[in-house]
């Protein structure tokens, strides 16, 4: 039972990260290793058990976690039941628990004119306790089915679909071109945001449940999609949207100007021992990160730990306010200023600037040219006379993605890619090829992990329906 006056009596309290001085010296998780249980119990009691829980609606959680129910259970000590309810809607609450920007908290009714419940942290506490207590066990299907399903891509969408399908008895094989499964989770997300063993223990569970993995296999290159169609009863493309948006300005070709994902992947591979050393390193350099999103923050945190001399973050958009604007009333997502832990660790944030070009010395970037800009009638316009330059040694482009890698589309006749780069699918996520489905970023464009999980679960349902016709 929820505590009816908890929200009046208990202040919102977030678990603090490790002290900056300490955490920038290592690659470990920025937060504490063990979460304070009592604190989470208290925080869960702030949940009002709303008649209309906006947190789990379309305004909030894409997997529609039954947030009030597990908050209530945590509040009364029913951790095990809470875990069951959490897993009922979310295959990987630890991924979202560590990484989700928590649209649920934006939509939380308390966020209307107060501070939302710390939903993400409660979620993380539930699953971490579950792992500690050995409650996360393989769930074996009650009945085997003979139909075989291939899942291409082992990011959160592919993994969620694979796990769901396997638990319903299907024979599931996951293909990924990486050495290890996880996709962007593993190669894009820095360790200080989520340690890799978090992925590994989940993969162990999936393997125990009977999901098979084929790693180091690139579909469209090593194996054709048509081959999969032949060997499997259904195929799911969960290949992500890793085609990065580029910045076609003069000087883009200079050495030292890199796509963020190339930079982040390399550091992750080094830490995992997959490669010996980095080719792009910020140590001692003046770094400019172009872009204002999560990837930019990841670059900042990584550069800081590599020992950058200085770090700038250049955002195209104006600096958001601290308060919710009238144009985005609750429960719409508010565009308020977000300060990530990487920001806290130190960087110069510059807003309303447009990078116009790079200049270099000896093919190596040395200077960045930019101009201030403003939003006028919904359009970005440069402000004349505000041009400036900045000395830089390393530029990281973190300005988004433009859809799925075209390789697989090009190699597969009949598969349709939309103009926005996503792979076209019908309402059920089935592509133009019968029995071939698409889910995750590949279908909806680059988005949140939680969306990927939601997509994977929906694809599993669609595939099950398809195989049952």
């Amino acid at each position: 039972m929820s505590d009816p006056t908890g929200f009046l009596e208990i202040p919102r309290q977030k678990t603090a990260y490790r002290p900056i001085k300490e955490r920038v010296k290592d690659w470990d998780y920025v937060g504490p290793q063990t979460l304070p249980i009592e604190q989470n119990v208290q925080q869960a009691k702030r949940c009002m058990d709303c008649g209309v829980p906006f947190c789990q609606s379309d305004y909030g959680c894409p997997v529609h976690n039954v947030i009030p129910e597990w908050n209530s259970l945590v509040g009364s000590g029913g951790w095990q039941e809470a875990l069951k309810k959490l897993h009922a809607t979310n295959n990987f609450p630890e991924f979202t628990g560590f990484l989700c920007p928590a649209p649920c908290e934006n939509a939380c009714v308390l966020n209307r004119d107060s501070q939302p419940v710390t939903i993400r942290e409660v979620e993380l506490a539930i699953i971490e306790r579950g792992f500690e207590a050995g409650l996360v066990k393989p769930i074996l299907p009650r009945q085997e089915r003979r139909e075989r399903v291939a899942v291409v891509g082992s990011g959160p969408a592919g993994l969620a679909a694979a796990q769901e399908l396997r638990r319903r008895g299907f024979q599931v094989r996951v293909f990924d071109r990486g050495q290890k499964p996880g996709g962007l989770l593993r190669y894009g997300i820095p360790d200080f945001k989520m340690a890799k063993h978090v992925i590994d223990r989940r993969i162990e569970q999936m393997k125990a449940e009977g999901v098979e993995f084929s790693l180091g296999v690139s579909i469209g290159k090593d194996v054709l999609l048509n081959d999969l169609q032949r060997d499997f009863d259904a195929v799911l493309l969960a290949v992500g949207a890793e085609s990065a948006r580029d910045l076609p300005v003069p000087g883009r070709d200079l050495a030292g100007v890199h796509l963020a994902m190339d930079y982040l992947t390399e550091q992750n591979q080094v830490l995992a021992g997959e490669v010996a050393s980095t080719t792009i390193n910020a140590k001692g350099k003046r770094v400019a990160v172009i872009g204002g999103g999560d990837t930019a923050s990841d670059c900042i945190g990584t550069a800081r730990r590599q020992g950058a001399a200085s770090i700038y973050e250049f955002s195209l958009m104006p600096k958001p306010g601290l308060e919710r604007g009238a144009e985005t009333p609750w429960p719409l997502v508010a565009s308020t200023l977000k300060v990530s832990h990487a920001h806290e660790e130190g960087c110069e944030r510059v807003f309303s600037v447009m990078t116009t070009g790079f200049r270099g010395v000896g093919g190596q970037v040395s200077q960045l040219d930019a101009v201030q800009c403003a939003v006028k009638d919904g359009q970005l316009v440069k402000k004349p006379g505000t041009e400036f330059s900045l000395d830089v040694d390393l530029v990281l482009l973190a300005i988004g993605f433009v859809g799925a890698d075209s390789k697989i589309v090009n190699a597969t006749p009949g598969l349709v890619q939309r103009s926005n780069g996503t792979i076209s699918g019908d309402l059920n996520g089935m592509t133009s090829l019968p029995g071939v489905f698409v889910a995750g970023d590949a279908r909806r464009g680059a988005s949140l992990i939680v969306w990927a999980i939601a997509e994977g679960r929906r694809a599993a349902d669609a595939i099950e329906r398809y195989l049952h016709q």
Binding site: V52, Y59, L73, A107, L110, R112, S114, Q143
Partner: protein, 1512 residues
């Protein structure tokens, strides 16, 4: 004309009801005089205000008289016709209505004569009864029958009983063969009476027309020693002569709520009864009780049949309408045993009843167990007894009065003219109980279960979550509902109404229970408070084969008494092991693989097996759905039980066995009620109990309870819920509820209903048996799909709170967000996004109106021609939400908004701060135009009433019709306590009924009172939609209301038990259309304005409601959403986080609503209305009302269940002819009161004191109220200085004497008064003293009636005599001294002081949460009469209770000075001795703890709004 009252559209004549006044006069010595007849007719005339007329003011609803067979008179008149009548005991006289056509008459005579002779009686001849048709009203004259008397000789009948049986046979056989042979003639044929001892004269007459129409009645040769009269108030306007009372044996004031069950149970018994009584004719006679007649007529039939078994008329009535004996600690063993014996033979015919009955020798009156109808009597020194609904119906000189008395609940009074004596209740029942060794019988024939077995071991069911899913359990239900009741023993309370679709509109499979809506009492009879008036309630059932009504007690089989119908598996087990009670278990499972046909086959096998088992002697059938698994699905339990029950009834086997349902499906009170309502005697909810065990094991119960404790809570909660469901229909005993089918089905096909749930209303078609089977199988398949893990089962739910993927909610997150964005930004475009959702364009339908669609017309007009929005918004009101339910900020913002646009806001039930009555500025007025008068009468003063444009009587509320309310103590802060005249921190209870409305004629009285208080306001009556509301509305219109509000079942609420929110009442579309159609058919539509409400949200909603008949429109939830409500459903917890439904000052600061937002909303709605009007080609809104031709049914695509619905009955347009309606004459102030007002001008104009003296009689009602209204208007709440106006009356005052009496007015009455004295007393003073000349025989005379000082807020009352039931009910500030009170004294009192210098009835101080009472406890048994739930009692001591003693003494002094009471004088004379005999009754001293609670809430540390980061 007669075609009007055929069923059409939503109108069905079977819903018609009536109320009335009754009266009787008897000469105890049995002296027959014409004077008795004349006086009886005078009584009838003095009851005129209790009857009614329809659209034709000259046609009454019916009146009549029953008297002794006037032998001498008949001898004379028969002789003149050449008929020689035999000796008085050797012939019977019949009063017969015939068609006017002579050939038809002849045909009827032929049949009647031959049937008479067939049964061995002698046809002596007939006589035309002379009448004067010129006195009749137009409507009555049009259908006037020919009235005849017939004479039938004893023939071969041996004795009187045999003669009576033969007369019965002659009549019934004639009726049957006339109905069979002579179709047209049968319509007008009616035998009003046929008896050796009595004769009935009655018709479609006004009381004063009876004696002028029937010439016989004024003939001085016509004599009688006794006579009973009746004046009827019906809920139709169709002249129907046969419906008038008296019937053959009785006249009835009240209503039998359980009539359907009673008639069915009679049918079940009639095979054995008929065989015993009528031998060879038995088969031909059935059914013994016709179901096509009124409840009173059915009761009359039942009385007659019981009399033919040899019982006396009073014995028959005691069996049918027993007193409440189970919890009566004053009853002796023998009498109790007699009652219990009767209870095993017959379930009570339950409902409010004052019954006047006679067999021609004995005449009596009886009240039902709750005593909800008044009955006063006078015994004179010349041995005459006058009994009537009111005192003063026959003027008796004061010096001839010997007794002034009144009947108490469950009492009977009988005058035996043969024995020449009065038998009082005690003697009568003691005599009856002594006739047989009932105590011995009970010991031999009744056993009970060993209490040790109640909770056995917890049960572990395999595949629990799949079983739960198969029975449609949801996670929400488990974690919120089931765990709540298992933890607390109370049903879950929720708020904000129901915005999920009807079961038939849901996209999901739903339980069959969900298609049934509970019915409830409104206006024509009262709901009951099962908590405060527990003494009349009973859940006891007797299991086993029941005795034959015509057989001796010794032949009965063994019965098992169970105190509750909810049994645990352990209890069932031990029941099954009782050897003398043969039981058998019948499985209700079927194989889902066999599909629809399989379920049908299994059901018919089940029924066959049940019949076979009963024939083989089984006395207990256990229908069980245990064993559900992959291969076994369960037939819906209510279908199974109804099928078995009705088949057994049909075959006359039903009383030989009882049915127990052992089901995984049943877990909520609504489920239990459905099962019992359709025939089960007990329910074993095994899966609910197993689920509780599972909740305990998984730590989800959130309380340290053992399994057996949790089960006890669950059972207790179920019992409470059942009592609530029964009592909302006014039913007190489960025995009567069993099989009574108090439900309306919505979304079931007529075929399914006719086959399994006969006589249940289901008006819009819907699911067939096959659909139901498919729904059952689909849910089962989903639950037992073994390829899927059961981890996700049961499903989330979302029936209460919104859940993604659960049941749909009209107020989805999107709908809420979009409406708020639209109204705060003022953007009509944003509103359009909202309305697309809300009009089910972009969402699935949630309401019936979404299946209707306005039909665009070719004659569409340009929108500029349509009536402006500023006019349309004037038709809008906001709902009755009290300050208390919502915060001051929210309440006032609504008032300001509505006043600004010319609409109306509503106070709700909580009074209003007088500071709001005057506008602050032209733009800001916080005065609520509608002032509500609800059952709690909180803050209803004369000052409040005079500042209303509209006074709304809330009969029922959509979210919990038939229930009272409670404002928890923590919401009662200083301000609210002040407005409600109560104590801060103390809970406030609104009773389920208005204690001054137990019937339709009572409502007429309240309307009269309110119009007297404020003649300028219109009076509206708020009803809730249910089958039969049309008839109620006709009654309300006839009672003088100006407006009828039809509320839907799904409206919001601050707090209500979940099963009421979900399962009681019907959508407004049904109720509105029924009211509109029925008023048209009765030609009363022009008299009233109709408003509707219940989740209205958009212009389209308004347009459809208008087309179905609404003139005005109420909105509640939507304006709250506009103010920021986000449907938290926490109103009942006071924690509303947006400052609306809370009184917490910190939360109230969060309120962000603005009047402008509300105004934006209403203009958006009105603009949308205009768009639709343009499309419909209607320029003026008034022209839209009732235009059902502009609306059509929308086709629903796909597999939706909604495609089964047929909404044509909603769109039916009655054609009436001749087409005439007369508009209401409007309120005419009572001339008597008006003349008082005129003569008090000096006091009103320049405060010159006025003293007036008047005679008064019982037709002068609400005396002083009109004057009080004028005082309050001129002088405000303060009124005039004390004794500015003194009114002295002599005589017997009518109802509501001194109602709402204002400060400065004193009313002194020498005589007596009727019910409702000092209702709403607002500061005036009343004193009532019996006449000095009266020669009372010792008992304290009853000088005031029931429900005195109801809702009084201040002032004083001194009564030198006793009062009736419910003295000072809901008093919140008046001081009163009285010398005796009936049952339920000081009920729900919240303030004031009451001194009782004499006896008190039972259940004193029930629900009393404030004020203080002092009772002189003369016999030392007060503690047995007091309800100690909320109060503590203490004997006063001169030494330690100084202030109490001083107050008491002061009040007695005042009493003496106002009444010169000798009794009071005697007490003071011997004061020291008397003081110690006084008991002080005051609320338990948690007054202190309540304010402490209030303090605690305020002192909660407020830390909201700060985020704190801590390091670990």
């Amino acid at each position: 004309m007669t075609v009007d009252n055929q069923p059409q559209g939503l109108y069905d004549p079977r819903f018609e009801r009536d109320g009335c006044g009754i009266g009787a006069i008897v000469n105890i010595r049995g002296e027959r005089t014409h004077t008795v007849v004349r006086q009886a007719l005078m009584i009838l005339q003095n009851l005129r205000h209790r009857g009614a007329t329809g659209y034709d003011s000259e046609t009454g609803d019916g009146a009549g008289i029953i008297l002794q067979k006037p032998h001498d008179f008949l001898l004379d008149v028969a002789e003149g016709l050449g008929i020689n009548l035999p000796a008085v005991g050797d012939y019977a006289v019949g009063m017969v209505f015939l068609p006017t056509d002579e050939s038809q008459q002849q045909a009827i005579w032929d049949v009647f004569q031959s049937q008479t002779e067939r049964v061995g009686l002698e046809w002596l001849g007939s006589r035309v009864v002379p009448v004067d048709p010129s006195v009749l009203g137009e409507a009555a004259a049009a259908v006037q029958p020919a009235v005849f008397q017939i004479f039938i000789g004893r023939g071969s009948a041996q004795d009187e009983l045999a003669f009576n049986r033969s007369l019965y046979l002659a009549r019934r056989l004639s009726e049957k063969s006339i109905a069979a042979q002579l179709n047209d003639a049968a319509e007008s044929f009616h035998v009003a009476s046929l008896s050796v001892n009595t004769v009935v004269y009655k018709g479609m007459l006004l009381p004063e027309q009876v004696s002028s129409y029937f010439v016989d009645l004024t003939d001085p040769r016509l004599t009688s020693a006794l006579a009973a009269v009746h004046s009827r108030f019906s809920t139709n306007t169709f002249p129907a002569w046969r419906l008038a009372h008296p019937f053959r044996w009785l006249c009835h004031n009240g209503e039998i709520n359980t009539i359907r069950g009673n008639v069915n149970w009679f049918r079940a018994r009639e095979v054995s009864l008929a065989n015993e009584l009528f031998g060879e004719f038995a088969e031909e006679l059935r059914p013994l009780i016709r179901s096509d007649q009124s409840d009173s007529a059915c009761l009359d039939d039942a009385v007659e049949l019981l009399m033919l078994t040899g019982r006396s008329v009073d014995e028959a009535l005691r069996l049918l309408v027993p007193e409440a004996w189970q919890k009566n600690s004053f009853m002796d063993q023998a009498r109790r045993a007699h009652c219990e014996y009767n209870a095993t033979l017959m379930e009570p015919w339950d409902g409010p009843a004052a019954l006047c009955f006679t067999d021609g020798v004995r005449l009596g009156v009886a009240l039902d167990r709750s005593g909800l109808r008044p009955c006063r009597y006078t015994v004179t020194t010349d041995d005459t007894v006058i009994l009537a609904s009111e005192a003063g119906v026959l003027p008796i000189p004061a010096d001839r009065v010997k007794v002034w008395g009144k009947l108490r609940p469950g009492e009977m009074l009988l005058i035996d003219t043969k024995q020449q004596r009065i038998l009082n209740d005690f003697d009568l029942k003691a005599e009856a109980a002594a006739k047989f060794d009932y105590l011995g019988w009970v010991e031999r024939h009744i056993t009970q279960l060993d209490p040790q077995v109640s909770v056995a071991e917890p049960e572990l069911l395999e595949d629990l979550s799949r079983q739960q899913a198969a029975f449609a359990y949801t996670r929400e239900e488990l974690s919120m509902v089931l765990s709540s009741v298992a933890r607390t023993g109370d049903e879950l309370v929720s708020s904000m109404g129901d915005d999920t679709p009807l079961a038939v509109l849901s996209q999901r499979p739903r339980l069959l229970f969900d298609y049934f809506k509970q019915q409830f009492a409104q206006v024509t009879n009262p709901p009951i408070d099962p908590l405060r008036e527990d003494m009349v309630m009973s859940l006891t059932m007797y299991l086993g084969a029941k005795g034959n009504l015509a057989a001796p007690p010794s032949s009965s089989a063994l019965l098992v008494r169970i105190e509750s119908p909810l049994l645990t598996p352990g209890e069932l087990n031990s029941l099954e092991r009782i050897p003398a009670l043969k039981s058998c278990k019948l499985s209700t499972l079927f194989s889902p693989a066999t599909g629809v046909a399989g379920m049908r086959m299994a059901l018919s096998e089940l029924v066959d097996d049940a019949v076979k088992q009963v024939r083989c002697g089984s006395a207990l059938l256990v229908l069980s759905d245990r064993g559900v698994d992959e291969g076994h699905a369960a037939i819906p339990s209510v279908l199974a039980v109804a099928a078995v029950h009705h088949e057994l009834v049909k075959l006359g086997l039903r009383t030989r066995a009882d049915i127990i349902v052992e089901s995984g499906e049943a877990r909520s009170p609504h489920h239990f009620a459905c099962l019992i309502g359709y025939g089960a005697a007990a329910v074993v909810p095994y899966l609910a109990l197993a689920s509780i065990q599972d909740l305990i094991q998984s730590d989800e119960l959130d309380a340290p309870l053992s399994y057996s404790e949790a089960v006890k809570s669950f059972v207790k909660g179920g019992q409470k819920g059942l009592l609530k469901i029964m009592s909302k229909m006014g039913i007190t005993t489960l025995q009567s509820y069993c099989g009574a089918q108090i439900f309306e089905a919505i979304g079931l096909s007529q075929q399914l209903v006719n086959e399994f749930f006969p006589a249940t209303a289901s008006r819009l078609a819907g699911l067939t048996f096959d659909d139901l089977a498919r729904e059952t199988i689909a849910r089962h398949r989903h639950s037992f799909d073994l390829r899927r893990s059961a981890e996700d089962l049961p499903l989330p739910g979302g029936f209460i709170h919104y859940r993604f993927g659960g049941e749909q909610h009209a107020w989805s997150p999107e709908a809420i967000a979009k409406l708020q964005h639209a109204t705060t930004s003022g953007s009509f475009a944003a509103y359009s996004d909202f309305r697309k959702l809300a009009n089910a364009e972009t969402a699935a339908p949630t309401a019936l109106r979404h299946l209707l669609t306005p039909l665009k017309q070719r004659s569409k007009v340009d929108i500029s021609e349509v009536e402006p929005a500023s006019e349309i918004v004037k038709r809008f009101t906001t709902g009755a939400m009290s300050l208390g339910a919502i915060s001051q900020e929210s309440h006032e913002a609504l008032a300001i908004a509505m006043n600004r646009i010319g609409g109306k806001s509503n106070t709700g039930e909580g009074g209003e701060d007088a500071a709001r009555f005057q506008p602050e500025s032209p733009a800001v007025s916080r005065n609520s135009a509608i002032k509500q008068v609800a059952s709690g009468r909180f803050g209803v003063t004369i000052h409040y009433l005079t500042h209303a444009d509209e006074i709304q009587i809330k009969i029922a509320q959509g979210a919990k019709p038939g229930e009272g309310g409670q404002l928890p103590g923590h919401k009662v802060d200083q301000q609210i306590a002040k407005l409600r005249h109560s104590t801060p921190g103390v809970q406030l209870i609104s009773p389920p009924p208005h204690h001054d409305i137990y019937s339709i004629e009572d409502l007429a009285q309240l309307i009269f009172d309110l119009k007297s208080a404020n003649p300028r306001a219109r009076v509206s009556v708020k009803l809730v939609s249910e089958a039969g509301i049309g008839a109620v509305a006709v009654g309300v219109a006839k009672a003088g209301a100006d407006k009828i509000l039809v509320a839907g079942d799904n409206g919001g609420t601050g707090a209500s038990p979940l099963s009421s929110i979900k399962h009681a009442g019907a959508p407004w579309e049904l109720g509105l259309a029924e009211v509109h159609q029925t008023l048209i058919i009765n030609r009363l539509r022009d008299r009233v304005v109709i408003e509707t409400d219940g989740q209205l949200r958009t212009g389209r909603d308004v347009v459809i409601a208008a087309a179905l008949g609404a003139d005005e429109f109420g909105f509640s939830t939507a304006p709250l959403i506009v103010q920021g409500c986000i449907m938290m459903r926490k109103c009942h917890l006071n924690t509303c986080p947006v400052g609306i439904a809370t009184q917490d000052p910190v939360l109230r600061q969060r309120f962000s609503g603005k009047p402008e937002h509300v105004i934006n909303y209403f203009f958006f709605v009105a603009e949308e209305v205009r768009e639709w009007m343009a499309d419909l080609g209607v320029t003026s809104f008034a022209d839209l009302v009732g235009r059902t031709d502009l609306v059509g049914q929308r086709r629903v695509e796909g597999p939706s269940k909604a495609r089964h619905l047929d909404l044509a009955p909603l769109l039916h347009k009655p054609q009436i002819s001749p087409k005439f309606t007369k508009p209401a004459s409007g309120y005419v102030p009572d001339t008597y009161d008006d003349s008082l007002l005129q003569q008090c001008r000096p006091a009103l104009e320049d405060r010159t004191p006025v003293v007036l003296s008047r005679r008064i009689n019982n037709s002068r009602r609400a005396t002083g109220t009109l004057l009080s209204g004028e005082v309050a208007r001129r002088f405000g709440a303060e009124g005039l200085p004390d004794s500015s106006i003194t009114l002295r009356f002599e005589g017997i005052a009518g109802q509501s004497f001194g109602a709402f009496l204002a400060p400065g007015i004193t009313a002194n009455l020498v005589g007596a008064a009727n019910d409702y004295v000092g209702k709403g007393l607002s500061g005036g003073r009343i004193s009532i003293v019996p006449p000095k000349q009266a020669q009372f025989d010792g008992d304290v005379p009853v000088v005031v009636g029931n429900t005195t000082l109801y809702g009084a807020t201040s002032g004083s009352l001194y009564v030198a005599g006793a009062a009736g039931e419910r003295f000072a009910v809901r008093n919140s500030g008046a001081f009163a001294v009285v010398e005796g009170v009936g049952d339920h004294g000081c009920e729900y009192m919240t303030g004031g002081v009451v001194v009782v210098l004499g006896g008190v009835g039972r259940n004193f101080a029930a629900g009393m949460s404030g004020g203080v009472a002092y009772v002189l406890d003369t016999d030392g048994l007060f503690h047995l009469r007091c309800n100690p739930t909320l109060v503590e009692t203490r004997r006063l001591s001169n030494a330690s209770d100084e202030s109490d003693v001083a107050l008491l003494r002061q009040m007695i002094h005042r009493h003496i000075s106002h009444t010169q009471s000798e009794r009071a004088q005697a007490i003071l004379t011997n004061w020291e001795w008397h003081v110690a005999k006084f008991v002080k009754i005051a609320p338990k001293t948690d007054g202190a703890s309540a304010s402490k609670k209030l303090g605690r809430i305020k002192s909660i540390k407020r830390t909201v709004g700060h985020e704190v980061q801590s390091h670990v």
